[in-house]
Symmetry: C2
Subunit: 347 residues, 2 copies
């Protein structure tokens, strides 16, 4: 790890209290941020004093294999520490929120691995990356539900006493129709069906062919299977949204169906965790994350999703996070660490 | 090419009239059969005098690339000729029915290639592999519709004056929900939805987990994405059928929806080609091929598909082929060749 140019001891470089690491490990990239332990509880997202931020590649072991994923995690943490002229000895707590961590066995394996990297007193929190997204909206508090709808989609909820539940997040083969991939695949299917006489005419045909610079729906088959990347398909979502805004009925039906899928996944999680209280009327935070839910458009997908959910659970309180998920992960570890200190001090 | 052990000239080895080659080129394998030109029109499928049969690997250029696909086709034809102690000089006509031939440009490229392999007088017919399946049910006559539902699904129709139309056949991303893959993916989705609280209870959960030797629906995500092969997913169709037969409502709905998808694809093709005549009442052949349509089961998928179609077009005449598609391709080339001879002879 890097040298200490200013001659300070590593721990001193980040302040006497040491540092906290928050890692958001995704399939596209992995972000690690470093926070000082000695900071006041941040009143607003802008008040989080991030000491450093490092970025690396994919750390989903289902995509790149376990050893490559762990190597990426190790490197990104080392880089974040080097950037503040410190090393592992200054670390007090780490939250690893990594996609592909679905099972208690995944969690245990990762805990076993990370314990060997750090001094014995460091506290570790290993979570699915959805938890970092939730914490980015709740400023590190673990309570509520997060709905992520980007290329994929997942609803993930946590209660204050640590129960978790998820819905969707199983990828396109297993029916994530509310995701960006799902929306775009339904639009491509509608174009093929209109072309071969099984479905109604839709302006999606003209708009998607124009976007992909193809001359006939015939060519969509070749285009679709030329590259199996889900993100490439999901990139067609804006075309579906603009066609729906222009009044295309097929595009509107696809978006309404997807809204219902997304709302259903949140409702299932909230119901299982009783986030809405016993009478179903309690307020609970719903953190909304991902390209599909970024709604400055006329056709407001996230607004419609919240409207659907509020019919079942009127206490839904939508939040758009103002910090990135890695900061959510770091705040989560910081909160836990602070509670631990209070307990130790008897306060 | 191989020697001629019996001392006959190559052409004489297969009879004076020479031979016909029929090739069924698929993604799993490629079959070539050799027929004698000098044979009476076969009265029944059992009466087709197949001289030889050779098998090779994949010849879908979308899967293995163009040069590997062409090499496979060249080898399988050479092997079929060697098996009857003859060579290319004995060939009068060839039908290549190859999956992945979707566009006139695909057809033209393959024609340009095959012309260079054979003497100038040989006639060539290049078709999508669905045409071989159709011809296997109509004994080489190009008229009617074929519905193939195995791992994938496609409806393909041809009129006597050579017009063609297709529906579906665009793979899972583009919505082939009536295919074996489509049926199985819907069943897996139903299991995930039941598990995470978005869908009704279904016995598919118990039956699919037992079949895959998994202990929890959680593990389905890992199982599904561990191997991207569509055939591996489609292999779950018998579990869906048996669950439906045992009265599971979710499994029954999946099969009914898939029947409707398959029927819709045939109806679209028949309507576009007017295979049912101007008044919609003419008889037309519907050739049924593929694992999903092999119906000795109580839940008779192909019977239900035909029943749906007959509500729209009562003249539908279902046929289950008794010969393999490669023989259909060879009979197609043989029919064309015989008509050509008759025209040349003025008869």
């Amino acid at each position: 790890m890097g040298g200490y140019e200013n001659g300070d001891s590593p721990a001193a470089a980040a302040g006497d209290g040491g540092v906290i690491l928050g890692v958001d490990g995704g399939t596209t990239n992995t972000v690690c941020v470093c926070l000082p332990v000695a900071m006041p509880p941040p009143e607003s997202p802008g008040a989080v004093p991030v000491l450093s931020r490092a970025v690396a590649g994919c750390s989903n072991r289902n995509s790149v294999g376990e050893s490559a994923a762990l190597e990426t995690l190790e490197q990104v943490m080392a880089q974040a520490l080097t950037l503040v002229n410190t090393d592992r000895s200054a670390v007090r707590a780490v939250c690893l929120a990594v996609s592909g961590v679905n099972h208690p066995s995944d969690q245990q394996r990762m805990l076993d691995w990370i314990r060997d990297l750090f001094p014995g007193h460091v506290k570790f929190y290993v979570e699915n990356d959805a938890v970092a997204a939730l914490a980015s909206g709740t400023m590190g508090k673990l309570h509520g539900c997060v709905l992520i709808a980007g290329t994929g989609s997942i609803a993930y909820g946590v209660t204050e006493d640590g129960k978790v539940a998820r819905a969707a997040g199983a990828g396109p083969v297993l029916g994530d129709w509310g995701s960006g991939y799902g929306i775009a695949a339904q639009a491509l299917t509608a174009v093929v069906k209109a072309y071969d006489g099984r479905g109604p005419h839709t302006n999606l045909t003209r708009e998607i062919l124009r976007k992909l610079e193809l001359s006939s729906p015939d060519e969509l088959i070749g285009w679709t299977y030329a590259d199996p990347s889900w993100a490439r398909i999901a990139a067609l979502v804006p075309v579906v949204v603009s066609s729906a805004e222009d009044g295309d009925e097929v595009a509107n039906k696809i978006l309404h169906d997807s809204v219902q899928e997304l709302a259903d996944s949140v409702v299932a999680v909230v119901r299982r965790l009783k986030l809405c209280g016993e009478d179903g009327m309690d307020q609970f935070p719903l953190v909304l994350v991902g390209g599909v839910l970024e709604g400055n458009k006329k056709w407001n997908i996230s607004g419609e999703v919240v409207r659907c959910i509020s019919k079942v659970f009127p206490g839904v309180h939508p939040i758009r996070p103002e910090v990135e998920p890695a900061i959510g992960a770091a705040l989560l570890a910081w909160n836990h660490h602070r509670k631990g200190l209070k307990l130790e001090n008897g306060s």
